[in-house]
Amino acid sequence: MRRVVITGAGTVNPLGDNLVDTWAALRDGRVAIGPLDIPDADRLAHPIGAAVSGFDPTAHFPAQRLGLLDRFSQFALVAAREAMGQAGLVPDPALGPRAGVILGNSGGGMTTQDEGFRAVYEGGRIRVHPFTVPRLMGNAPSAHLTMEFGFTGPSFTVSSACASSNHAIGQALAMIRSGQADVMLTGGTEAMLTFGGLKAWEGLRVMSPTGCRPFCTSRDGMVQGEGAAVFVLEAEEHARARGAQVLAVVAGAAMTSDARDIVMPDRDGAAAAMTGALRDADLAHGDIGYINAHGTGTAANDRTECAAIRQALRHAAGAVAISSTKSLHGHLIGGAGAVELLACLLALREGVIAPTAGLRARDPDCDLDIVANAARRAPVAATLSNAFAFGGMNAVIALTAS
């Protein structure tokens, strides 16, 4: 089986609009959650979130092209350009058919949907923007990446709610391993901080009015974020042949389904995904130095996830460093796993474990080595990144340094 490596990473997220700034914010434990500045924010129960602020689309795209790009496609394109630049890949007729794109996303082009619905329902208008469909369709960001880089191999968008990015990355890994492609752009993107998107989440009564504090007794729910992260995954021999820098090895991935409940998480399903990723990566329990937890900051997730980590890592569970960076960048829903993989890269490359912010008092039901409030220095050779979605869909990615 072919080994697969990461040769490029790029991002636009609440912590920064590139990899360097994001890593700096993760190192510093900087919280990007704050008051939301969106239309009708005063009619939201909890008008807080982690927004990508200061992002100027006109700095990245000409006006004609912008008409076709919802915010979630803009994020994906800017992130992908950075990843491709870092990988040193340029559009190439020989590479094109051997390269593809699989991104994760949950909501589609929410800004476009929100504006269109406002126009016809609230505004009483009889027409919406002519590009409403190509802007809002879930596969739009993946399609724009293929066009940007001339990738003519397999491409699609994966939608599995909060696990979308990890499912996408796992699928991209499988495609390169199987020989269907040599290079895949993968990761995820989400731009759901719209009035409609936030209202929908509000209905479930799981959103925090105060902030995201996973594993803390004071936690009171999740906080939404937005943004994208995109990675260049490449067959190792392909990367070595062109002398590319290897950021990390995508050692394994696993996907499981709880087959139980549409919203409540399940310990067994989550544990099976972690165990599966270890097996796929040929790693032992004690090899994992860092787990980027799904860590949403809901009571249901955090307790179930900690029990699942104990079940999956057994005797080694107490020794592994764990953090939830959602406390910093919020929950990016379909983009979550991708941005969180950046924290795994930081741990592997720099030996810095990004903290769980806002942890005041540890929940006794989350009795693991939670890295709290300040980053920790520790050599890390292997990481897991967890994503457990509504629908009981779990996907875990294992990275190793070499």
């Binding site: 209905g203 479930l204 009564r205 799981v206 925090s208 009015p209 009171d220 729910g221 900051g297 809901t298």
Partner: protein
């Protein structure tokens, strides 16, 4: 007591029981004030749906966070306590 007030609070009780009965898929006559919502088969998701129906019916906001069910200061454990909680919300809205 003002008789119109009595009628109105009885209306509240009737409406709340109708909402809970619909959620529990039972006849309203089969519900008693002491019945626990869990015993009626109304789980955490059922409670979220019930609260939505209450808010829409009475035009009130129920301070409920599924992560900290006790934090809102409302006792939503039995049919009777839900009726009382709604009475309180409706009367503070009228005040």
């Amino acid at each position: 007591m003002d008789p119109t007030m009595t009628d109105r609070t009885d209306d509240i009780e009737r409406s709340v029981i109708a909402i809970l009965a619909r959620q529990a898929v039972r006849d309203p006559a089969d519900l008693s004030p002491g019945d626990r919502l869990e015993a009626l088969g109304i789980d955490s998701m059922g409670l979220v749906e019930t609260i939505f129906a209450i808010e829409e019916t009475f035009d009130v906001s129920v301070p409920f966070n599924a992560n900290a069910p006790e934090a809102g200061g409302m006792d939503l454990t039995t049919v009777g306590t839900v009726v009382e909680a709604v009475r309180g919300l409706v009367s503070s809205k009228a005040a």
